[in-house]
Amino acid sequence: MKIPLQLFARARDLAGKSPIEIEVPENASVAQLRQILIADFPQLTDLGPSLLWAVNNDYVGVEHVLKTTDEVACFPPVSGG
């Protein structure tokens, strides 16, 4: 299945665009999505372990299982305020 992935801040700048589309197996977890993201965009390798993940505007752990209808985003640690 194809997951549209929104990237923000330095992650978006490194990837060069947002959203990007990632092809993952059915019932893939966020961990699998991350692995494929980094294979497709090796410039995200260093940032990979610190990336935060959100599904439908809530934070999720990497064990979270994705559905095609999910709104998925990833980004580095936040620094607002």
Partner: protein
């Protein structure tokens, strides 16, 4: 009241929104663009948000704060886009019956906002460097561009 805004934050209006006859204490916190961090000289900042999620998380902060502290009213405004030195990046106003409650709630709101709300700051340094601020990632690897030789 919560908002993300591209425009200058009107802290007077925000503060007046939380004033209430039930409150004996009003606390306003402003984040402002500071020029120096150690020896680093900032010339401007840029704030980027994941808008829908940021508004959802701000809403959750407001609800969670109202459950945890005996607050009367809460108002939060966060700026996005480009900010000059001294400009207000965030304003948090909270009212409560007594001052300790207002201080505790205000402190919790800004601390928790900084942990949870998907907004990012990009430093534009006087020497031309532009760096995203991503706590916990290495400073050196944050450097995106070095516009001066």
């Amino acid at each position: 009241m919560i908002e993300l805004t591209e425009k200058s934050i009107d802290f007077t209006q925000l503060t007046n929104l939380v004033r209430d006859h039930r409150a004996g204490a009003v606390l306003l916190f402003l984040g402002t663009v500071r020029e120096f961090t150690g020896t680093e000289q900032t010339s401007s900042l840029r704030y980027e948000a994941y808008p829908v999620m940021a508004l959802k998380k701000l809403q959750e902060l407001e609800e969670e704060c109202s459950r945890q502290f005996p607050v009367v009213r809460i108002a939060i405004s966060h700026r996005t886009g480009d900010l000059d030195l001294g400009e207000i990046s965030v304003a948090i106003a909270v009212s409560a019956p007594h001052r300790a409650q207002a201080f505790d709630a205000g402190r919790w709101l800004i601390d928790t906002l900084k942990e949870r709300v998907p907004i990012w700051k990009q430093e534009n340094y006087q020497d031309g460097r532009i760096e995203w601020v991503h706590p916990g990632t290495s400073g050196a690897s944050n450097s995106m561009t070095n516009q001066t030789p």
